[in-house]
């Protein structure tokens, strides 16, 4: 029960930071005038955009805190007599729960404002967002695993790998990806095919996430505590 307190506190801190970061980003955009509000009231505009920022900022915050879990907390908790099984399970459950809370929170906020959200959201946006969140987080989990296994060399190699992946994704979006994405999320195309794409992204993200945590489990099982 005492241990649970730590994991819940850590999870809530992450959600708090994500919510705060999304709010700050929203306020910056509001005052910088880069976003056109059109006919929307301020409240509507915020409700429309905050869930998107919450998803994006939340995924990045969870991912970055996920790295700190590998860099700081694993060694620290094991130095405090936490078993490796508990550390791995605690990290996995907390990070996954954070992602789930952010996804559900965003969906609820968005759904409150956009009636149409629930019609297209269930089929495309939610699975697509969930898949993207899992996919991005899994890359950071893999980075954390690389640090645990190979130290600074792992960090450098993983960073180079991600730069390459980032470059490829950038090229894809520059060529045709952004129009495909806007068609998909904008509700164009047959509902069945959009559902298939959403589920494919979700499945891909879940597989990546699962693989990253399986590697994490095996790495943590044999890692040497130095802290």
């Amino acid at each position: 029960m005492r241990h649970l307190k730590f994991w819940v506190r850590w999870g809530l801190q992450t959600i708090g930071i994500a919510a705060g970061a999304a709010a700050v980003y929203l306020v910056i955009n509001l005052f910088s005038g880069t976003m056109n509000r059109g006919e929307e009231t301020l409240w509507e505009w915020m409700l429309n955009w905050y869930p998107i920022y919450l998803l994006v900022c939340g995924t990045l915050v969870v991912s970055i805190i996920g790295i700190s879990f590998f860099q700081v907390y694993i060694s620290l908790l094991m130095a405090m007599n936490c078993t490796r099984r508990e550390v791995t399970l605690g990290g996995f459950v907390t990070i996954t729960a954070d992602l789930l809370v952010l996804l559900c929170g965003s969906a609820l906020l968005w759904g409150c404002y956009r009636d149409s959200f629930w019609r297209i959201g269930g089929s495309v946006i939610l699975p697509f967002a969930a898949g993207a969140m899992l996919g991005v987080t899994s890359l950071f989990v893999a980075l954390g695993v690389a640090i645990v296994r190979w130290g600074k060399i792992g960090l450098v190699l993983a960073s180079i790998g991600y730069a390459v992946i980032g470059g490829c994704l950038g090229a894809f979006f520059a060529l045709s990806g952004s129009s495909l994405l806007s068609d998909l999320l904008g509700g164009k195309g047959a509902a069945g095919s959009r559902l298939a794409v959403g589920l494919a992204v979700l499945a891909g993200g879940a597989v990546l996430y699962g693989i990253a945590w399986i590697f994490a489990f095996f790495s943590i099982r044999t890692m040497q505590v130095r802290a």
Partner: protein, 294 residues
């Protein structure tokens, strides 16, 4: 009465073996001093005994139960590591307050009052990051965690590193007071042997990945002598005895003798026989086999 026991502990890093089939038994209600040269394997041994790192071979048990991945056994152990070695990584990145908060969560018998008392006693700024603390201050954090954990078996790795003499005295007094009050078992690894010698009930000497001896400190000192004089006279005195270290200066010779139970030194007027301090015994046992003094 709990007994922490390690059998055949072997540890290999890369291709090199740093611990060679170490057997060690720690009894309750004792203060052990773990001494050895740099790289002897002290920290590695402590981290394996407390299941923080896996052994390549061998096992560690607490009352016959394996310690590895055993929350029940782990709740009775505390290994307070030397934070000064952390550099820019891991726990050094967080604040002292957060570190102590995590310790409070994970050590089931954590004594919050004691931790607060020690923070005041050491004038520790808990808002600072561990990496921003001086080495001495980092040692204070390890001392606070070790003492306030109230763990049955508490291991301290270089707890006095970087502490000034006043703080070191304070630590030894606190350690003895806690030991007398609670009867916990402490294992203290240190390089400042002379000061700590009076505190250790038993001394465990680690050399090149092996336990060279584990013995009651007083009994060890009672059987260690330094014999010096003319080389021939010293050789005659030492005949049949275990000579662990020798130094020569011209025709003079000094020898460190380790008497076996029942043995005694023959009385001769032409040699000087002196009792030795724990530090000198350590140097004699772990130093070079033979040194030619100039």
């Amino acid at each position: 009465m709990s007994i922490l026991s390690g059998k055949g502990i072997t540890k290999t890093y890369g291709g090199s073996e740093v611990l060679h089939a170490v057997d060690l038994e720690l009894e309750p209600n004792k203060i052990y001093g773990l001494i050895g040269r740099n790289g002897a394997g002290k920290t590695t041994l402590l981290s394996i005994l407390t299941a923080q790192n896996p052994a390549t071979a061998g096992s560690v048990t607490l009352n016959g139960e394996p310690v590895w991945e055993n929350p029940e056994a782990l709740s009775r152990l505390c290994f307070s590591r030397e934070l000064g070695l952390l550099g820019g990584s891991s726990a050094s990145a967080i604040k002292v307050k957060e570190y102590l908060q995590v310790a409070e969560t994970f050590f089931p018998h954590w004594d919050k009052e004691m931790a607060e008392h020690l923070i005041k006693l050491f004038h520790l700024d808990i808002k600072k990051r561990i990496s921003k603390l001086s080495r001495g201050m980092q040692s204070m954090v390890t001392i606070i965690v070790a003492l306030a954990s109230k763990a049955e078996f508490t291991f301290l790795d270089e707890p006095v590193a970087g502490l000034d003499v006043v703080a070191r005295e304070k630590f030894y007094r606190l350690l003895l007071a806690e030991y007398e009050e609670s009867g916990r078992t402490f294992v203290v690894s240190t390089h400042i042997i002379e000061e700590a010698a009076d505190v250790f009930e038993e001394v465990i000497l680690v050399n090149e990945g092996r336990i060279m001896l584990k013995e009651n400190t007083q009994e060890l000192l009672d059987r260690c002598y330094h014999v010096s004089g003319h080389a021939d006279a010293v050789a005659a005195v030492c005949e049949g005895l275990e000579v662990r270290h020798e130094e020569r200066l011209g025709r003079s010779r000094g020898a460190t003798v380790l008497l076996a139970p029942g043995q005694s030194l023959p009385e001769r007027a032409d040699v000087t026989v002196q009792k030795m301090s724990l530090q000198k015994v350590f140097v004699a046992l772990c130093g070079e086999e033979e040194e030619e003094s100039v």
